[in-house]
Every structure is written in structure tokens, then in C-alpha cells.
């Protein structure tokens, strides 16, 4: 009899991980472990021949903070992607040369993405870096304008030549692509660090109960909802807490009365029409192994009003939320999903998003969990300092 009880006890212990009274089933444990390890191995982008080059990273760092790229001369990438604001701007919708329809996404961990922008209209980070250069509401520039800017700045001209082996005197697509690739080389170095969740996840993996117990009880309860009844993990999966794909989450896609944001639907059209996508001549990967997504993506009516699943890493320091910045706080986001209006979703059939009717305590627990996805730097993403020595 004692042997049977012992066997049952051992079975239960192996079937569930328990810490501070929160028990995780075998299934929940597997889902939690799928959100790591962190940080992932960094690989260079084969579509960008200057990815990983220290000269390109330094040149991109300078361009990132410089107004030289904008028509006005005083707006740069850094205007919206502010280092002391978690590389975003804390505004509902971005404002460059004019108002933009969407919220400014943070730039951290972008190397892990497949698509860029809320609609995913770019299939590489360098293509995504070109888009705001040309958008009249953002930097409002073009190749000829950039050439003129470089001609007035000997230092930038020297650095361009160092990275790309030629003078920045060609007012063509290659100029835009090179600037995009230098910016991308820098941006892909922006990664977030380990978080309290990562410590818990790794402790769970090695069954270190003492380390697991250091993770706050409210966060553990929130995590259980996240990988359980809340179904958040269905889309916010993997080490970067995103499946990298697109969903309709019931956020209205009217920009202003009479004007809609088509989201993924329009983005696929833009991607296919662009001469800068990975199927074009500017992809530096001769093997074309990195074109799988672009070659196989389908355009269907259901993509209307879908937006990319954002990463949740450092989500607590990047308010406001959703593609249009319409939700001010994490509590608002959890409340939105808890009380979601099924009539606003245009997906057919059974939906993954259903009204959860969470209690106030459960909402607080989910928020507590999301807050543990913040690294030590939080909103202060200190960029590497710029060496004042002139280029030689």
C-alpha cells in the first residue's frame, strides 16, 4: 500500500511543477519552457552583406541619431525611437513630419522577426528601414536628397565609403538600400536582457524549486492564466513571445471616420509590389534560402484588419498598446481580451478569442506576470556612445 502511495506521489510530482502553491501541469510546463531560453543565439542577416560589420554598425548608429536623412534636417529615426523611452515614443500614434496612423513599435529584438511593421509590409530589417525614409509623414526623403546631404558632410561620406567601398554619389535605389542596410546592421544589435521570467523559466527547466520560489506568486498565477485559460500563448509563443504572424484582435481599424487601416491585407500587396523585397536584386543571399516566407505568403480576405503579434518582452515599458495605441495600460489590454466583443472579430467559425470575464485579481495577476518580462534596463536603452574621432 505504501509503495502504491509513493508511486502515485512520484507520478504527481513529475506531472506537475509546483512553486509557491501554483501548480503547472505537464502541458503548461511545456508551454512555459517554449518561451526560452533567452537570449537566443544571434546570427547575422544573410540578406544584408554588412550585417555584423563593426563599421556598418557604427555608421548605422550615427545615421540613426542624425537628422541628415530627413528633409527637414532635424528629424531622425531617434525622434520616434527614443533610447530613454524603450526605443518608442510613448505616443498613441507616431509623429514625424506629420501624424502617422500607427503606434511606434519598439526596435528591440527585431532580428528575431520575419515581418516588419504592424502590417508586415517588409520582409527584411533593411527594407523596413527604407520605408520611413520615403514616407512623407515620417522622414520624407529620397535618394537624391540623401546624396546632397552626404556631399555636405565629409565624415558621413568617409564612413559610407568605408562600409560600401564607393562614394555616396549615386542617387539611386542602391543608395537607399545601403542606407537601409547600415541602419539595419545597427538596429539588429538592440536586444533586451534577461528578465525575472527567464530566471523562473530556467529554474523550472532544471526543477530548482528554491529559485522558482523567488518568482512572485502573483506573476506565477498570471503565467498560469497566460499558458492556460487565457490562451495568450497561442499567438505570444516562443522566446520572443510572438509567433511573428498576424491576427484580428478586435481593435477597430478605423483611423478616422471613413478611413480604415487594412493592416496585413494592404501590407502583402505592398510587399509584393516593392522592388526592395527579398525576391529582388538587393537580397545579398545568393542561395535565396531566406525567401521562403515571401515566396509562399498568400493574400486572402481574412487578412483584412489583421496586425502583427508584437513581442511581449519589455512590454510594460512600451505603452500605449495595440497597432493604433488605443489602449493606455497593460490593465486596459488584459481587460480588452477579458471582455472581448466577438461581434468585432471578422474571423469565421470558432474563434480563439473568447470573452474570459476575468476577476479583478486575475487581471492583476496577468499584469504582474507581464511586468516580469522587463529586463534590468527597462525603458532606458542606452545606445553605444559615438566616437568623436573623425573618419579616416
Amino acid at each position: 500500500m505504501r509503495a502504491v502511495l509513493l508511486a502515485v506521489a512520484l507520478m504527481l510530482a513529475s506531472a506537475a511543477a509546483v512553486a509557491q502553491g501554483v501548480a503547472f501541469s505537464v502541458e503548461e510546463r511545456a508551454r512555459i519552457l517554449a518561451h526560452g531560453p533567452w537570449p537566443p543565439a544571434v546570427t547575422r542577416d544573410p540578406s544584408n552583406r554588412v550585417s555584423g560589420s563593426s563599421d556598418a554598425i557604427d555608421f548605422g548608429r550615427r545615421l540613426f541619431s542624425d537628422g541628415a536623412l530627413s528633409r527637414s534636417g532635424y528629424i531622425g529615426c531617434v525622434t520616434c525611437h527614443q533610447p530613454d523611452r524603450a526605443l518608442t515614443d510613448l505616443r498613441p500614434r507616431a509623429h514625424g513630419m506629420a501624424d502617422v496612423d500607427r503606434n511606434t513599435p519598439t526596435l528591440a529584438n527585431l532580428r528575431l522577426q520575419r515581418w516588419y511593421g504592424w502590417g508586415g509590409s517588409s520582409d527584411s530589417l533593411w527594407m523596413a528601414s527604407i520605408r520611413p525614409l520615403l514616407d512623407t509623414r515620417e522622414l520624407d526623403t529620397d535618394a537624391a536628397f540623401i546624396v546632397r546631404r552626404f556631399s555636405l558632410n565629409e565624415d558621413l561620406t568617409c564612413r559610407y565609403r568605408k562600409v560600401f567601398g564607393r562614394a555616396p554619389d549615386h542617387a539611386d535605389d542602391a543608395m537607399l538600400v545601403n542606407v537601409g542596410k547600415a541602419l539595419a546592421a545597427f538596429v539588429e544589435t538592440l536586444v533586451t536582457g534577461r528578465t525575472p521570467f527567464d530566471e523562473f523559466r530556467d529554474a523550472l527547466e532544471r526543477n530548482d524549486r528554491a529559485a522558482m520560489a523567488r518568482y512572485p506568486a502573483a506573476a506565477q498565477r498570471g503565467l498560469k492564466l497566460f499558458v492556460g485559460r487565457g490562451n495568450c500563448f497561442v499567438c505570444h509563443t516562443g522566446p520572443n513571445f510572438s509567433n511573428g504572424e498576424f491576427h484580428d484582435t478586435g481593435i477597430p481599424f478605423f483611423v478616422v471616420p471613413g478611413k480604415v487601416d487594412p493592416g496585413r491585407h494592404e501590407a502583402i500587396r505592398a510587399l509584393r509590389d516593392s522592388r526592395f523585397n527579398l525576391l529582388g536584386r538587393f537580397n545579398d543571399d545568393a542561395s535565396r534560402k531566406n525567401t521562403t516566407a515571401t515566396r509562399h505568403v498568400v493574400l486572402e480576405h481574412r487578412h483584412w484588419g489583421e496586425f502583427r503579434t508584437p513581442s511581449l518582452r519589455n512590454v510594460a515599458v512600451t505603452p500605449p498598446y495595440m497597432h493604433n495605441g488605443s489602449l493606455a495600460s497593460l490593465r486596459d489590454v488584459v481587460l480588452h481580451y477579458s471582455e472581448i466583443d466577438g461581434e468585432r472579430l471578422h474571423a469565421d467559425g470558432e474563434r480563439i478569442l473568447r470573452k474570459l470575464s476575468l476577476t479583478e485579481e486575475q487581471i492583476g495577476d496577468l499584469v504582474a506576470f507581464l511586468q516580469t518580462l522587463t529586463d534590468a534596463a527597462g525603458e532606458r536603452r542606452l545606445l553605444p556612445s559615438i566616437d568623436p574621432a573623425p573618419c579616416r
Partner: protein
Amino acid sequence: MKHAELGIIVIVCSSVAQACEPPLHGANVQKIEGARYVLAWRPAPAPIRVGEFMTLEIGVCAREGQPRPATLRVDATMPEHKHGMNYRPSVTPKGTDRFAAEGIMLHMAGRWEIVFDVNTGAAQESLRTSIELQ
């Protein structure tokens, strides 16, 4: 009597399986038995992960009296959500009765049904299998 019937059924099934072996073997290979075809498939990379592209190696065996497969189509859906993938796979012949399907990505956790449509020109058989992704 019941035992005798069961014995006959088992003998019939095992003899059919021996007679129709798809040209794909080794680790991670899964088999689907259809009325006309037996199909074996293997994902690469394995195991299948949510949100990551994979290629499927596929071998098809035509049962006795059935024509060899001419073409193959692969798709995947989430029956409970009533939606499919965001990508349309491409299938390439890889020698006799062998195929490779590229551009497959299961973008959400949950139950997926993978469908293999074997075409001979004159007829078609759909072979299905279910997988659960965490």
C-alpha cells in the same frame, strides 16, 4: 467467433502493409494509410515548432491496382478555428514516388490537420493526419 474475425482482419491489414511500403524511412517518419495509397512523411527540422517554417519529405506508395501518384498537394488547417495557414506550400517531385513540400508554417499552438491530396490525373485521394502543437 469474434476472435477468429479479428485474426482475419489483422492478417489482411499486415499483408497489405507489407505490400505497400512508401519510399521514405528513418527517424521521425509518420505513415498514413489510405484506401488507395500509403503515404509517409517527415518534417525538417523536427520536431515541428509553432511559427517556424518546415519542409516535408514525402513518400507515396500506390496500393495494388492503383496508378502511381502524378502530383501531390499539401495543406494544413486548424479545424476548430476554421482557418488555414498564412502560406501556400509548393511541392516538388524528388524522384519516383518522392516529393518535397516547402513553405509550410503552422503559426498557432493547438490542433492542426495536415492534408495530403494525392492526384493521379483521373482520381484523387486525400490523406489526413492530426498533430497537436504546444
